[in-house]
């Protein structure tokens, strides 16, 4: 049986359009990318494809054997193409939900909710962009790199991984004109101590107007220091356990330092992208 991608039909307020939709997609493919990650490609209806890099979807994961994921799982948009009707997620299998995702086969129907949250901003003054990502954080920054390329921005991408061969999407970033620097744990090139001079050298050359990061608290801390020291703005995509993904339940709050105060914000609604300067671990 093949499914056509459809959205759940519900009444919307007169003259308005739903900002996000619950849709049934069709699985085009679901394949391992390297030992740890898998790429899920969906045939998706146009209603959910009005996406911004940094936004995410809530995925209703099927149950793997003997496990019962109940809540939806948040997943960054790895790729979207409205004309082709394509929506892509790059995910790491870690628990019940992602194990369930791994069971999806070509042709299966699959329920998604999105796009959700606020994506990355890219003001005109940010011409030279430095992307610093670790692990699956690369998935989140990939569509940002594509958009930056389309807007003619200059890109440097630091891809951090446990082993050199686990650094994903290097070719993808290069295809967006990025200078890609792979660092990893095996030669200790991924430590903050090793990265700091590397990044400061680029700052000295004036080729860093803004940072974008995702996937590592250690890298976030490093960038916060550098941002303060050198007055460079930037954004980070953050994670938190979620229930609704829409802003209703208050499950996904994190603390942020704003002015002198520590305040709480919902990652799903005010985020998942926040100013680097305000983020707290």
């Amino acid at each position: 049986m093949t499914h056509s991608p459809t959205v759940m039909s519900v009444p919307v307020p007169q003259g308005l359009r739903a900002r996000c939709s619950e849709a049934t997609c069709r699985v085009v493919s679901n394949t391992p990318v390297n030992g740890e990650y898998r790429l899920l490609v969906l045939d998706a209806p146009p209603e959910v494809l009005d996406c911004q890099p940094g936004q995410f979807f809530q995925l209703l994961c099927p149950a793997p054997e003997n496990e019962h994921p109940f809540l939806r799982r948040p997943m960054s948009i790895y790729g979207y193409d409205r004309r082709a009707g394509r929506l892509e997620f790059l995910y790491k299998v870690t628990g019940a939900g992602t194990r369930g995702l791994a069971t999806l086969r070509t042709g299966d129907a699959f329920n998604v909710l999105g796009p959700l949250g606020h994506g990355f901003s890219m003001p005109d003054t940010w011409q030279n962009l430095m992307l610093v990502a670790r692990g699956v954080g690369l998935a989140t920054l990939a569509p940002l790199a594509r958009l930056a390329h389309e807007k003619g921005r200059k890109l440097t991408a630091i891809c951090s991984a446990r082993r050199a061969d686990l650094a994903m999407s290097v070719a993808l970033f290069e295809s967006f004109g990025a200078e890609v620097i792979v660092v990893h744990d095996e030669d200790a090139s991924s430590t903050p101590e090793a990265l700091r001079p590397l990044i400061e050298a680029r700052i000295a050359q004036g080729t860093v107007d803004a940072f974008y990061t995702c996937g590592s608290a250690r890298l976030l801390r490093l960038l916060q220091t550098l941002a303060t020291t050198h007055g460079i703005p930037g954004e980070v995509a953050m994670e938190q356990q979620m229930a609704c993904g829409l802003g209703m339940c208050q499950a996904c709050v994190r603390s942020f330092r704003v002015g002198g105060e520590v305040i709480q914000r919902r990652v799903c609604r005010e985020g998942p992208v926040f100013p680097i300067s305000e983020a707290m671990e």
């Binding site: 519900v10 919307v12 809540l71 993904g245 829409l246």
Partner: protein, 314 residues
Amino acid sequence: MKDFITPDTGTQIGTLALQNPIMPASGTFSEDLADVFDLDVLGAHVLKTIMHGMRAGNPTPRVCDMPSGMMNAIGIPSKGIDDFRDRMLPYWAGYGAPLVVSISAHSMDEFVRLCEAVSLPGVAAIEANISCPNIEADGRAFAMRPDTTHTVIERLRGCTDLPLWAKLSPNTGEPAEVGRAAQDAGADALVVANTMLGMSIDVASRTPRLGNVMGGMSGPAIKPVALRMTYQCARACHIPVIGCGGISTLEDVLEFLIAGARAVQIGTATFQSPTIMARLVTQLRDWMAAQGVSSLGEIIGTLEIPQAADGVWA
């Protein structure tokens, strides 16, 4: 087969007429859902419980999965009464559906002050959350006992002219007595029920899965408890009962109506499917039309109990 007519999905909760029996459960609904569908299709709008003053809520993680359900220990993060009056009330005034404001407090006095403060034009009813298991030590709440229930509802009754709904707790051994206590103290309706207190441990780290250690269970796993309590309360009381707990399909809605509920609240199901409430409204109307049921009165409280013949054990 009855003559074909457009079925009337309307229901009456005391003096309050609802266009249909589908409404959200407190804490699982907010203006954010307007991003997904037109909120005016709902029977009523029930807001997240508010408390006096600003509150941070519980530490994270605040939610976790369980088999056929979830647990939450959100607490009541709240921006307080000012935010409610100045920002939320004007927002919800833009809708036609009646607005139900949920309130809670740690003490009787605080409850009374808050009840007075939210008794404002634009509010259609007040739901007293006397059952929230997170806010009192070891999960205790007013709604665990008939006597404390009676006292708090009587106090609240004395300080507002708005319809007053009492939201009960499943963490009690005597739901019918608690329901009757709320009724006798002047409640206009019962909401049956809130979450069940549960716990989950991550074995690898030997730590609780919820920041607050214990949390409230919701979703399909607790539906049989909520349905049982709905039936017990509807039998024991003459004020309307609003069923709540694990409802996620049309069949679930009908089960609660048959058990005696006049309306239902949908909570966790909205997290799995944010369109579910809008779809249930349509599904209910279509089902009534297909079955030739012209009004909810033909469904509510129609449970039949067959007589059973018994043998001798050998």
